[in-house]
């Protein structure tokens, strides 16, 4: 299923030359429409890498597993911060769980060591 872009939240990254998701999609799958809202050309071509999900400044993008795998499944949102990425997983019953992944700089203490 790839991604869903909420056109009510997307602002096309304002006056930026290129929207962040348009820049970062490795498959060049996201384009801005005439209304300056982002849309995906073809969700079948999406790799589900979540690059767009993390980089979107308005968090307009959610990711879902393809329905062929999981029907409605889980929804994923995220936001890249300076040294970490914060994530929210929305489960089937509507509850949310938060996660963090360290991204740059000093590695955190690893409880599994």
């Amino acid at each position: 299923m790839g991604i869903h872009i909420d056109v009510h939240v997307c602002n096309g990254c304002g006056t930026a030359e290129e929207a962040m998701c348009v820049r970062d999609c490795p498959g060049d799958l996201i384009v801005l429409g005439p209304d300056r809202r982002a849309r995906i050309r073809d969700n079948r071509a999406c790799w589900d890498c979540a690059a767009c999900v993390k980089v979107c400044p308005t968090q307009a993008i959610t990711m879902q597993l393809p329905p062929e795998i999981s029907l409605r499944g889980v929804r994923l949102r995220g936001r890249a911060l300076r040294h970490k990425t914060v994530w929210r997983l929305r489960l089937r019953d509507g509850t949310e769980r938060a996660y963090e992944t360290p991204s740059t700089g000093r590695p955190p203490h690893d409880p599994n060591l």
């Binding site: 490795p26 589900d48 890498c49 990425t85 994530w87 992944t101």
Partner: protein, 584 residues
């Protein structure tokens, strides 16, 4: 705009801004700040290629107690002895320096109480690599290299048999770009999407390898007559079913073993003769298929009795490299909490890939990473003969190549694009836009995938095929290639898709010749010849290489496996260990 032509001059051209390409740009600019370096990148260097989603480990590293020589022994064993010792040793000696270089740029690498990188396996280092690609891309940008984002390569620029740069198209405008360079490095990655996808419909690109890596660099080399090696070593990943994600996170965090449907740790109980848990990578996949054939499938990662809360660490780990798997695990944990029992996590084989980072396939190169075409070097997933290099080995190869490229560029004179060659390539590259009443790229893609799936050992065939089936594949691919003049693109984006399929058809035709030639089964699943089911060292302990001639015929040549003598008493040094080369 479409129809526009742009010429750019460089000293060094790097085709592909992935793991190898970004490192190559940095190395080139640090070593030779006076040289103009241009990087041609299909997407944007911040999030392109294999590393787009992130990675959680670097799987090529020389840990304390290991050495480049012990790494080579490990690789030889895993690929059943057909390997280029010289390439693996040269790469292994560079690994740690490049890993710590990227660490110094900000890649978080956790260390143990002694300050050593945390081991994830014999040659694997744990990392927090969610942002590894932006890290590399920004470094390449800051190096002063000129980065041409959105320009995908279509062909090598040739002048009197020498590579003098490369041609590409702008993905957004369709403009034709010619870059002339005194030395060119190809590092565009391997080829995904050759076989029918594991998932139907909107899950078609839910695959292991980057689906936008469609063998461009390999196809360019094939068309220019470069010698290629070991395409028949098709890498097939053993992965978590449906999301086709690595199993390591589950195995690592939760200590999950592989079990069959009877609950047996089958690698140990039934395949001890192949090495049990330590068996070669392809044998793990083969054993898993065998269990199913014997009625003991499917096979699983054993999570019986694991409390759902323990999955949280696995979910976080997957978020930084395979977000789909994080979603799947979160869903499994949800059902486990509801039902009070953890469902098994099924494992399957993915699609076969032509890729030199995990496997053996790619350009035939020398120790300096020179290809058989003068003026062209290769590194990373397009470079053959040096398996198990992964991301850190791609960095190592890039650095090795660039050092030699700088010398060659300084020694050589100026180069110029051959106008006729450029015009021929421009017409070929833009032709799908001129086609009328033709078929879209997807039609050709699906036809190609169907041919390979059914006649060249796809997943649905348990990866096996016979010589007679490969003959049929050859015939149908020939017919498919002859119809490429009907391939139609309506805009610059479709033109890129058109080239992705043109390139894969060239790779596929070469692949089938390799598979037809090696009449043995050395690597189960990767090259499973049902009509020659045994490994035959007396005849086939050699490389199968290929060259496409100007008339389109593919010539197969065999190259010997040359062993470097390894002294068992060598100290475990990372650098500078002495070598004695054997005579043959």
């Amino acid at each position: 705009m479409t129809g526009e032509s742009i010429e750019i001059a460089a000293d060094l051209l790097i085709v592909g801004g992935g793991a190898a390409g970004c490192m190559a740009a940095v190395e080139a600019r640090e070593r030779a700040p006076d040289l103009d370096v241009v990087v041609m990148e299909k997407a944007h260097v911040y999030r392109s290629g294999c590393l787009a989603a992130g990675i959680s480990a670097l799987n090529a590293y020389i840990h304390e107690g290991e050495s480049p020589e012990s790494f080579l022994r490990f690789v030889r064993r895993d690929v059943h002895d057909v390997v280029r010792d010289d390439l693996v040793l040269g790469m292994a000696r560079e690994l740690n320096a490049q890993v710590h270089r990227v660490e110094s740029w900000g890649l978080p690498i956790p260390r143990d109480e002694r300050g050593l990188p945390v081991r994830r396996g014999r040659a694997s280092v744990k990392i927090f690599g969610e942002r590894i690609k932006p890290l590399l891309g920004k470094r390449a940008e800051a190096s002063g290299a000129r980065i041409l984002n959105r320009v995908y390569a279509t062909g090598l620029a040739l002048r009197r048999g020498r590579v003098v740069g490369a041609y590409g198209l702008h993905a957004r405008t369709g403009a034709f770009v010619a870059v002339r360079a005194r030395a060119t490095l190809v590092c565009t990655g391997g080829a995904a999407g050759l076989y029918r996808p594991s998932n139907p419909g909107s899950g078609a690109h839910r695959m292991w390898y980057c689906p936008y890596n469609t063998g461009a660099g390999l196809a360019m080399g094939i068309r220019a007559g470069a010698e290629m090696t070991s395409f028949e070593f098709r890498f097939v990943p053993l992965r978590i079913k449906d999301v086709i994600a690595p199993t390591g996170e589950v195995a690592q965090w939760l200590g999950a073993r592989q079990i069959n449907a009877l609950g047996e740790p089958y690698l140990e109980t039934r395949y001890a003769h192949l090495g049990g848990e330590k068996m070669a990578t392809q044998d793990r996949l083969w054993a898993t298929l065998q269990e199913r054939r014997a009625g003991r499938g499917p096979c699983y990662l054993d999570l019986r009795g694991v409390p759902p809360r323990r999955l949280e660490g696995t979910i976080a780990a997957y978020l930084s490299m395979a977000p789909d798997a994080a979603m799947l695990m979160a869903d499994e944990a949800f059902y486990a909490r509801r039902d009070g029992t953890m469902a098994p996590i099924e494992i399957v084989g993915g699609e076969p890939h032509v890729v030199g980072g995990h496997g053996l396939a790619g350009y035939w190169i020398d120790e300096r990473r020179r290809t058989t075409l003068p003026g062209l070097w290769a590194a990373g997933d397009v470079a053959g003969g040096c398996p198990k290099k992964y991301a850190s080995g791609a960095w190592a190869e890039a650095v090795i190549a660039v050092r030699d490229m700088i010398e060659a560029a300084r020694a050589g004179g100026a180069v110029e694009i051959d106008e006729e060659d450029a015009e021929r390539e421009r017409q070929r590259a833009l032709r799908p836009l001129e086609s009328k009443d033709g078929l879209p790229p997807a039609a050709f893609e699906e036809r190609m995938q169907k041919i390979l799936e059914e006649y060249a050992g796809g997943a649905s065939r348990d990866y096996g095929c016979s010589g007679a089936e490969l003959e049929i594949a050859r015939l149908h691919l020939e017919r498919l290639a002859a119809e490429l003049d009907a391939l139609q693109a309506r805009d610059p984006y479709e033109l890129m898709l058109a080239h992705e399929v043109i390139d894969r058809i060239d790779v596929a035709r070469q692949l089938v010749e390799h598979m037809a030639h090696r009449r043995e089964t050395r690597w189960h699943c990767y090259h499973e010849r049902l009509d020659y089911p045994e490994r035959d060292d007396a005849r086939w302990l050699c490389f199968v290489n290929s060259i496409r001639r100007a008339d389109g015929t593919i010539e197969i040549v065999e190259r010997p496996v040359e062993r470097v003598a390894l002294d068992a008493r060598l100290p475990s040094l990372v650098d500078g260990a002495a070598l004695v080369r054997s005579g043959g």
